[in-house]
């Protein structure tokens, strides 16, 4: 268990303000937050690059707050790869083991194993500047993983890559996590990475952790206005998808929602509250997703009214103040909601079979 307790660090432009976070062994923790939230400093403080001004970090019960990075067994991968340009890929991956004075035949063997895992075994003799971005990031991940770290810290590891490469590497990160069971702390701006990879997600803003929880929980029950604004989509549900001819049916509890997608298996859907129609009578339209429900809550948010509609799961629907007043709705009223299959965003989700 990695226990971060009340860590503070002031670096001027970036700072941490009493951050606490517990991460279990083998967990995949994703941290999201706007630029300048302090995400990178948090990782660098955990790695030991900076000593915190206050607070403590414990790893499996040992206080590592002031331990130098080399004694922590926590490795790090940056967005811009940071391969050592004067060393070959093989020397890069073997750098850490060489620092630890591991015999060279063991280094060679370990480098080979991780290079194969990341599909870069054919590039070992090359220098980093001759590699594509995706290849460089694979080498950087191999270099960090070869140390068999207690935790792997990833600072926006996929952000600099093109979308195809990003998707491939995301899948491989998932595989690596499943195979090695390494604890991973991953910073990103990308919600797909959150849904696909995270066991839990932490949201940071202004040097603080604002909310921690399972991805669907964060999206469905944002703790405050900032989280709701930042995550954007509030109707997020977890379900199981089956797809046929490009139409996916996602079973969420007792209801089935349709979407245009070929994603199958564990998945998350999200629907923007503004894209949901609400009426007091059944809608006579060919809209695929139409459900009867009950109003369970009404909240006033500036010019908009947000209604919670319980249809088996609770959807949030947004109405303008004028539309709300004309419809004369109240808590407990029976209503119908409907949204197009194209309004449903489907993300591959992380299996929770364990």
């Amino acid at each position: 268990m990695l226990q971060i307790q009340n860590i503070s660090k002031d670096m001027g432009e970036f700072f941490l303000d009493s951050v606490s976070l517990d991460i279990s062994k083998g967990e995949y923790m994703v941290i999201i937050g706007p630029t300048g939230a302090g995400k990178t400093i948090l990782l660098e403080t955990v790695a030991g690059i900076y000593e915190p001004d206050g607070g403590s970090i414990h790893l499996d019960g040992n206080d590592i707050t002031r331990a130098p990075p080399k004694e922590r067994n926590i490795t790090m991968v940056y967005q811009d790869y940071m391969l050592f340009p004067h060393l070959t890929v093989e020397e890069n991956i073997g750098f850490g083991l060489k620092s630890k004075k591991v015999p060279s035949d063991e280094i060679h063997e370990a480098v080979q194993r991780y290079a194969e895992m990341l599909h870069i075994a054919h590039l070992l003799h090359r220098y980093p500047d001759t590699l594509s971005g995706g290849e460089q990031q694979r080498a950087a991940i191999a270099r960090a993983m070869v140390m068999n770290p207690w935790a792997l810290l990833l600072d926006e590891p996929l952000s600099a890559l093109d979308s195809k490469t990003r998707e491939n590497l995301r899948k491989e990160l998932k595989d690596i996590h499943e195979i090695t069971k390494t604890t991973i702390i991953h910073i990103t701006h990308n919600f797909e990475e959150v849904f696909d990879l995270a066991d839990r997600v932490a949201i940071m803003n202004e040097g603080k952790i604002v909310q921690v929880g399972a991805p669907d929980e964060i999206f469905r029950r944002p703790k405050n206005h900032f989280v709701a604004e930042f995550v954007g989509a509030t109707n997020v549900f977890k379900g199981i998808s089956t797809s046929e001819n490009g139409i996916a049916s996602i079973k969420i509890g007792d209801i089935i929602i349709r979407a245009h997608s070929e994603i199958e298996g564990d998945a998350y859907i999200s629907v923007r509250p503004e894209e949901i129609l609400i009426s007091t009578a059944p809608l006579a339209s060919p809209i695929r997703n139409a459900f009867p429900g009950k109003i369970s809550d009404i909240r006033h948010c500036g010019a908009m009214i947000r209604l919670n509609i319980d249809i088996g799961v609770t959807f949030v629907v947004a109405l303008t103040r004028q539309g709300f007043e004309e419809a004369e709705l109240g808590i407990g009223d029976c209503v119908y909601i409907a949204f197009k299959a194209t309004s449903v965003h489907l993300f591959p989700g992380k299996s929770t079979t364990e």
Binding site: A47, P68, P69, K70, I74, M76, M82, F95, R143
Partner: protein, 270 residues
């Protein structure tokens, strides 16, 4: 780098012409001297074979190299600290580093002399245990060290700053101590800056005159010998020594410049 056809670009033509003027001045001065010196080959050979001249050139270059070695040992750590840390009073430290650049050389000479003379703050105690700077080789080295230090420190610092700090961070999470990360990552990636800094400051050290004669008129470095012969033997004698020094410097620096392409080959990858 793509070659630009100079002849079709007016801006480049005018720049080349203006730039040519400054080159022409140097070339003209060199040619003028070369023609003069080559008109009396026996005299040239006689001066070139003069053991005093040869010894002095060797002394100057060796003392310069000696100063640079000390400068590297002390200056590299300082340059690294300046490149990697931010602290209160950093501007003051930077200004102190640059002071020898701004001072007239005679002023630098006085500063060095007062500190290292037989009754000086550092020179005194060392003189008592039999180590003299006045009119001695260590005096030359210390004067050279003082005047050439900013060139080296600033160049090394620039090289260190160019190495992303994240590269060092990664090395440190991979089992390297800060020193080991410096040695295996930062230093190889700033080798050219350190090398060029060393060449520049060596050149500066070799060229020093005023600061050196204040503390060590003897043994005569080449500038001192040249000035002495100029005042006693006249122009013919001294200009030949100057010519020989030019040939020596030109050859040495040409070789060093050429080598720099091999030494810093990793710098470009950062």
């Amino acid at each position: 780098m793509a070659q630009i056809p100079v002849l079709r670009d007016r801006c480049l033509i005018s720049f080349s012409l203006l730039g040519g003027l400054i080159l022409a001045l140097t070339v003209l001065a060199l040619m003028n001297m070369t023609v003069r010196e080559l008109s009396d080959i026996p005299h040239l050979l006689r001066v070139a074979a003069d053991s005093k001249v040869i010894d002095s050139i060797i002394l100057t270059m060796a003392a310069g190299a000696n100063a640079i070695v000390i400068l590297m040992i002390l200056g590299i750590p300082l340059a690294y600290v300046l490149a990697r840390t931010d602290f209160r009073g950093k501007r003051i430290v930077e200004t102190i580093v640059d002071i020898p650049l701004m001072l007239p050389h005679t002023v630098a000479g006085i500063l060095v002399y007062i500190l290292f003379m037989k009754r000086g703050l550092i020179g005194g105690p060392l003189y008592d245990i039999g180590f003299s700077f006045e009119d001695a080789y260590p005096g030359i080295v210390v004067a050279m060290l003082f005047v050439s230090s900013p060139y080296f420190i600033n160049s090394a610092r620039e090289g260190f700053e160019k190495v992303p700090v994240h590269l060092e961070n990664v090395a440190r999470t991979l089992g390297a101590s800060r020193f080991s990360a410096f040695l295996h990552v930062v230093l190889p990636l700033s080798a050219r800056y350190i090398y060029n800094g060393a060449i520049f400051s060596w050149g500066r050290a070799i060229g020093e005159f005023a600061a050196i004669i204040m503390i060590a008129y003897y043994p005569m470095v080449i500038s001192t010998l040249l000035y002495y012969r100029f005042t006693t033997g006249g122009l013919k004698e001294s200009s030949t020594i100057a010519f020989i020094m030019i040939i020596a410097c030109f050859s040495v620096f040409l070789v060093l410049r050429y080598l720099s392409h091999f030494i810093g080959r990793h710098d470009d990858r950062v």
